[in-house]
Amino acid sequence: MIARLQQTGYEEDRLQRVAKLLPCRELQAGTLLSIMGQPQQYSYPSVFIYGHRASGKSHVMHILLKELELPHATVSCVECVSVALLFEQVLLSFFGCDAASLLPRSPSLSDFVRIYRQQCLEMPAKQTRYVVMEKAELLRDMDANLLPAILRLQELVEDNVTVIFLSEIVWDKFRPNTGCFEPLLLHFPDYSKGELQQILSQDKHPSYSAEFYSSYINILLGVFYSVCRDLRELRHLAALNFSKFCEPLAEGKVKESDTHKLWRNIEPHLKKAMQTVYLREVSSLQWEQMQQVEEKETGPLRGLSAHTHVELPYYSKFLLIAAYLASYNPARTDKRFFLKHHGKIKKTNFLKKNEKTSNHLLGPKPFPLDRLLAIFYSVVDSRVAPTASIFSQISSLVTLQLLTQVSHDDQLDAPKYKCAVSMDFICAISRTVNFDIVKYLYDFL
């Protein structure tokens, strides 16, 4: 059922059309419309709308302003790298390009307000003008006086103008130190599971029945809903995986009504999509190609994560392993790990379990170059001379950002490093050189 939007001053059939275009957002659109009031009436100077990503903030605003044909300027704060662009866009949408060209080079707010007032005398607002600021959180990073000034734009330009801010971040994080004009706050709640189902079911495939598509959406939400509630992301995933879902149907193996078999077919596939497409490790094109390749050769899946495929020189691998050990093992345990005759070290004494938190929780510790080289010589199986090539490999590991230099560059004699790779990565590396790194890690004893 489509709830009816009501507001005097607008044509009835337009409101009907708006309501149809905004499924599951009727309540919010209604509230917004009642705050906006009739077109010629004043509205509250600034309205702040917040809600999660893809909860329909921009969409509702856009549809309302466009369908009801209200004068408006939509400004995305991502695009406005300088305030000049912001001012230009507002003036352009309200007064045409002549007004925008009046702006001097690198304009100040003062210029903007002056030109706005001038133009306003020539073209007074018959209807409320709306400025919509998308991603308003970026306004905080611009000049400190910009946000407070835009909040009270109505007062400054003395025109019937309302500024609407859209953001994912709550208003509390915006308020400047000395306070400012408080906007009217409006929350857009997230879509519930049922609403997501309803909206996603709307873009059904023409050659399949609505129920069939809806059951597909149901399965998709079952997998992804606990991780992601972003409508846009879910829609992307739905579009990408639908062809796979239909496959058994096209081959004539199952009927449309046999949901259980369809579910068995698609479920592992979606799980895999979670690890790849959702994380953006592969693009959607690659994903489609992968699906086709997979059909031909049903061999073992190659690791999808990009970072398991770094090729390094032989010694660099050992250097990295040594760096990892130096970062995650306490220095006092080196003796036990790397000395052949380390004498008697009592096991109880050695494993001081009062150090409760493991190093893999706290992150890598810095270590000096000497320690790195000492560990390196004991882990590498052949004898290596400390040549310039070894040192240059260390510095290239730093450029690859596998190591980070902690100390300042000017400390030439004793530089300190930190290892910046993950456990999975180092395990993959050590497997290629047949080195069992877990045996040498203090945390895993």
């Binding site: 509250y44 100077p45 707010l109 307000v113 006086n145 009217l184 809903y225 992150g363 993950s422």
Partner: protein, 414 residues
């Protein structure tokens, strides 16, 4: 008041509502000045007297109006000016310069604006001035009358006065006050600021204000409707629950702006079908005003993100607010999962990392220091920007929250 009764009136009800909305909206959106400012009588008189002296007798003055935001500083000044400009002598004599600390961000821009507002662009032309003071003196000189004996009084209004004080060397302020002291030209400087704490002169009159704000002026075209409306507002003010909401609102904030916002929300619910403000509308508006934004945002998080927040809460409890990193949070989460037999929340580390980054994007967690570039993302130290009560409240409202997650959140130590 029944709907039918309204229909008997002279104008159709739709027309009445439109008029009503128009008048009240103009008032609430700060466009129209009240006929008589209330509660600031003494200040009004004092300011009026000071400005009149400048305008009529050519005496230099400077005034600083201090008050919290929304206390009516601008309103006071504007109503004084309105009254002052009704006098013939003042009208032809006094020049005004309105500056705003938000707009004129440095003294160069401010000086340009002064020139423009005094209509002296032509006089200045391409002249080059040695110093700021020279320039200002020239401007004021240019305003002198034909006989050069006395110059016209100028009123400088500096809104957001405190921002002018941040300008380099405070050249503008120094020069303005210097001019007003040394009697070069009669000027009055009025600064408006919220920076210093000031007597709360508006507090007693707050609840009374509701009625004066909402009641209609006498010249409303349809008297019957106007009377009904005013009566309904009066009845509304006597309602117990309404009074409670207003009192609560008053206790939270005492400025007029927030009251305006509150009343605006009530007003926007007035339609043809429902031509009066009901108590329920006021309650609803109160609910909107007092909604905890962060709790609302927590409502929209996915289960995984919520679990991470709970893990952070436990870490905060155990380590007494020490910062944490993703590894610790994930570890805490895994400990919870190990106790569960079903592994429905078994997510890979990168998926967890993405959820974690989303939380950071929403500014629910914040990195501790600026050296983020050097450490790996999973070891970057973070702080939780929520307190326990907010988390617990959000959990109560969370749709279809699994019981085990709820219990995990309730338990004292993760």
């Amino acid at each position: 008041m029944s709907k039918r009764k309204v229909k008997d009136a002279h104008l159709p009800v739709g027309e009445c509502i439109t008029q009503l909305q128009k008048i009240l909206r103009e008032r609430l959106c700060n466009q129209q000045l009240p006929e008589k400012p209330e509660g600031v009588g003494a200040q009004h008189k004092h300011l009026l007297e000071l400005l009149r002296r400048t305008a009529v007798h050519g005496e230099s003055n400077s005034v600083l109006i201090v008050g919290p935001r929304g206390a009516g500083k601008t309103m006071l000044l504007k109503s004084v000016l309105r009254e002052l400009l009704e006098e013939k002598e003042v009208q032809k004599n006094l020049l005004q310069v309105q500056l705003n600390g938000l707009l004129q961000t440095d003294d160069r821009i401010a000086l340009k604006e002064i020139t423009r507002q005094l209509h002296l662009e032509n006089v200045v032309g391409d002249k080059v001035f040695g110093s700021f003071a020279e320039n200002l003196a020239f401007l004021l000189e240019a305003l002198k009358k034909g006989d050069r004996s006395s110059s016209r009084p100028v009123l400088f209004v500096l809104d957001e006065f405190d921002l002018f004080a941040h300008h380099k060397n405070q050249t503008l302020l120094y020069n303005l006050f210097d001019v007003s002291q040394s009697a070069q030209a009669p000027i009055a400087v009025v600064g408006l600021t919220c920076r210093l704490d000031v007597l709360e002169l508006l507090e007693k009159r707050y609840i009374e204000r509701v009625q004066t704000q909402l009641s209609l002026p006498q010249d409303f075209p349809d008297e019957k409707f106007a009377k009904d409306w005013n009566e309904s507002v009066k009845a509304l003010c006597e309602d117990k629950s309404v009074e409670e909401v207003l009192l609560r609102h008053f206790n939270c904030s005492r400025d007029f702006r927030s009251l305006h916002m509150f009343l605006m929300l009530c007003l926007s619910r007035v339609t043809v079908a429902k031509p009066v403000v009901k108590a329920a509308d006021v309650l609803e508006a109160g609910r909107l005003c007092f909604a905890d934004a962060k709790a609302d945002m927590l409502h929209g998080l996915s289960i995984l993100e919520l679990c991470l927040i709970i893990a952070m809460k436990h870490l905060n409890d155990v380590y007494e607010g020490e910062p944490f990193n993703l590894q610790m949070v994930h570890n805490e989460f895994k400990k919870f999962l190990q106790r569960k037999s079903n592994s429905m929340y078994n997510f890979e580390q990168p998926v967890v990392l993405k959820a974690f980054e989303h939380l950071q994007q929403l500014e629910l967690i914040r990195p501790v220091d600026g050296s983020s570039a050097k450490t790996q993302r999973e070891y970057q130290l973070m702080r939780l920007m929520l307190d326990n009560s907010q988390i617990m409240e959000a959990l109560q409202k969370y749709p279809q929250c699994p019981t085990d997650v709820k219990q995990w959140a309730m338990s004292a130590f993760g």
